[in-house]
Every structure is written in C-alpha cells, then in structure tokens.
Symmetry: D2
C-alpha cells in the first residue's frame, strides 16, 4: 500500500543557511506516516489512548536537494516489510518532478511498560 | 524570588533571516521557568505524574535585539503576583549587558479534567 | 483587511502534557501572517532577497483552550494599526466555533544593517 | 578524533507519548557536531559568512531507549571517513551508562551556488 501527503514548508523550518533544516524532513515523514496510518484504520491518538505507543526504531534519510521555505512538497509513504513486532516504511519526498529526499523507517508498538506488542493486523494488508 | 539560567542558542533555532526565530524565545522562557520551579521544590515531571498540568494562560514578549546562533544568553525569571489559581512570572533575556527581550507570563494549574486547582503554596514564598 | 488560514496541528507539536505546546501557537500565527502578506502582494522570500527582514517587535497571546494533535484550526489575521515604521496584526485561532487563542503582534521592517525602514505602502490598504 | 557534548533534554522536545520526540535527537546530533567542528577550528558561523554551507547528505539513526524530559545526555562524535568532498561522523547518545541512540551522518561543503567544494584540511586530521 502507498499514500501521498502534500505539505507546504514553513518559514520557521528554515535555518540561517537559507534552506529547510534537515530535522524538519523527519517531521514531514511523520506527518505523512500518521496520515497513512489513518487510511488503514489506525488513528495514532486512539492507539495512545489505549496506552500503547508506536516509536521509531530506526530511520535513514538521504537528502538529495535543498528545500526552501514556502515550497509545496509531496511525501509518498510505502509500506514495506511487516514482521510480528516491527514494520518498515519507505518514503519519497518530492517537489514537482524532483525527488528531494528518500527515507526508510522501522517502527514497533510498545505497551505502557515499554514492552513490545504485536503489530496490528491492519498493517499486514498490502 | 528570582532565578537565572544560561542557555546557548542553537543553529537549528535560526531562520533564513539569519537570526534566532522569535518562537525559540518562548522555549527559552520555559526552560528557565522549569529550572526556577525546581529551585522552589516544584518538579514539572512530578506535577504531571500526579495528573496535573500547568499551562500558560497568557504571555507577552518584547523583542529588543536580534539573537544569532551559538550565542550565550541568560534568562532571568522573577516571581510576581500569585493568586489562588494563577501566578505570574517576569523574564529578562540578556546577552552580556544587553537586554535582548523582556516577557511576562501567567500560568495556572489544571487537573486531568482541565479544571483549575489551587496554586501550590511553594509559589507563594517570595 | 483580514485573512483566514487553516492549519492542522501536528503530532510533533504536542508535549508530554498531551496538548499542543504553547510555542507552536506562535508558529501558527506566523504561518497565517505570511500567507496574509502574500494576499497583499508581499512575499516574505522576496522581501528577504532584497536584503530586508521583518522581525516581530512584540507579541501577546492569550491561551483560552488547549489544542490536541491532529485538530484543524483556523487562524484569522486582521491588520490593525500601521505607522511609518511599524504595523500591528490581530489574530484569532479557532477550532470550529471555539476560540482557542487570541493574539496581537507588532512588526517592523529592517534593512541588512538592522536599521528600520518604512513600512511598504501595501500594508496601509485596509 | 572524538568529542563529547552534554545536553539536557527539554520539556518542549517531548510529545504526547511522554518521551522525547525522535526528531529532537537529530538536533542533538547537530549541536554536538557543531561543537566538535569548533574544536578542530571550524566555526559554522564563519563558514557561512564566507558564503559556504555544510549540509547533511545522509543520516541514519537507531533509537535504542526512550528519553524523558529534563534528562542529561552525552553526545559523542567521532570523525570517520573523509574524502575529497565528503566526510562522515559517527555518534553515540548516552544517558549514564545506557546508550540510547547511535547514528552516522555524511556531510559535504557547498558554495553559494550549491556546488560541492573541497572538505577543509582540518577535517582530515585524526
């Protein structure tokens, strides 16, 4: 499954070098990921109300082109591997036809004692 | 009572105009406020573990001079008025002998239903 | 003149108390302000390319209701006083029919030596 | 060469799941990296004043343990490979004897036209 979310870069996300700070890309990935979760019936606020959290286990990102403020970007999220306790997502951030970054992240689900719990079945539908 | 906390401005807190973004000053105030709280025996993490929160009710800030990245600033916090359900703090952010911003904030304490609760006695010691 | 901009609150803008951090409201004001600027023919990126910046001189905000993550809010910006070297904006942040915050900010324009310059005529049209 | 920098996590860096947001770790890496740069005679503000920037080319991070607000962490930076136009750094974020994250980042230097320039000799000293 895949999902695409459009975001406009913010002035406050730039730094003094005139481009969007690299840490903001990490937030863009999360915004798209949470919207993607919703499309498969997984509301992050609901998950947390039940006492579970879904932290990032690892994350890799390649920055291909600089982004400026007030640019419109599309973040594409693709579900990759899903095991019993982990799932992996791939991302492509693009501006028009330019790919500006690619990324991959791994996630798990933890209960309120920070113990791993099984990945919801919804994530296994491709 | 008053308290002073030293902070170094971060590269990521600048924006494309080359100066520290004005929203970061709000974070500086909070950092100093939380450290001040600790000196009067009020640990914000403990307060929240008990199910209460202490939100900002209002905040005013005057920006007097621009700050650059990697500058050392001192944030002075002074306790002002304390009523039954609100307390007020005044701040001065300085870089060396330069005052770069002044601010005032009002706070309350809420329980987990967002209902106001009495300000802890500790805040009434001046 | 007035302008309204819709924003969705982000997960990353919350803090451990479960609500949107008060510093993020300051960013919401800026996002709406920059979009408002555009509607009166003032592109912030263009202003800065010409070597000028438009910093916040002062800012007051009243927080009326807590915001949660992934809520849709509307930020209304109204132009108030404009003098030769300063202009003032008023804001109302609402969620549905609830006003969650009101704010007022004062701004100036500075050249690259941080000297005040005249407010562009565009800001004087009401 | 290696360098270690101590940081205290901030309240505003947490999210509603009660732990430090994963994007803040990226900022911690940068803070330590910039301090490390200084120790080898490379002031990021000076580099940028000369019209060059040093963006992140890629970044990988493994999150091993959650961090809470107001915790003291140490970020260790180790210089790894340096080629003509790129250099790589490795990081370890620890809290006491616990390693909470490890990371690796690649960087380049670009001139004001976003063209790669040679890595300064200072980076080649190990």
């Amino acid at each position: 499954m895949s999902y695409q979310h459009v975001i406009k870069t913010r002035y406050s996300e730039t730094a003094q070098d005139g481009i969007i700070h690299h840490s903001s890309f990490i937030v863009y990935l999360e915004i798209a990921r949470i919207e993607y979760f919703k499309t498969i019936g997984c509301d992050i606020n609901e998950i947390e109300k039940e006492g579970n959290i879904s932290p990032v286990v690892d994350l890799s990102i390649r920055y291909l082109k600089p982004l400026k403020s007030l640019e419109e970007i599309a973040v594409k999220v693709v579900s990759k591997n899903v095991s019993r306790v982990r799932f992996q997502l791939e991302y492509e951030i693009s501006r028009g036809s330019d790919i500006v970054a690619t990324a991959i992240s791994t996630h798990c689900f933890l209960n309120s004692n920070f113990q791993p719990i099984a990945i919801p079945e919804k994530f296994k539908l491709k």
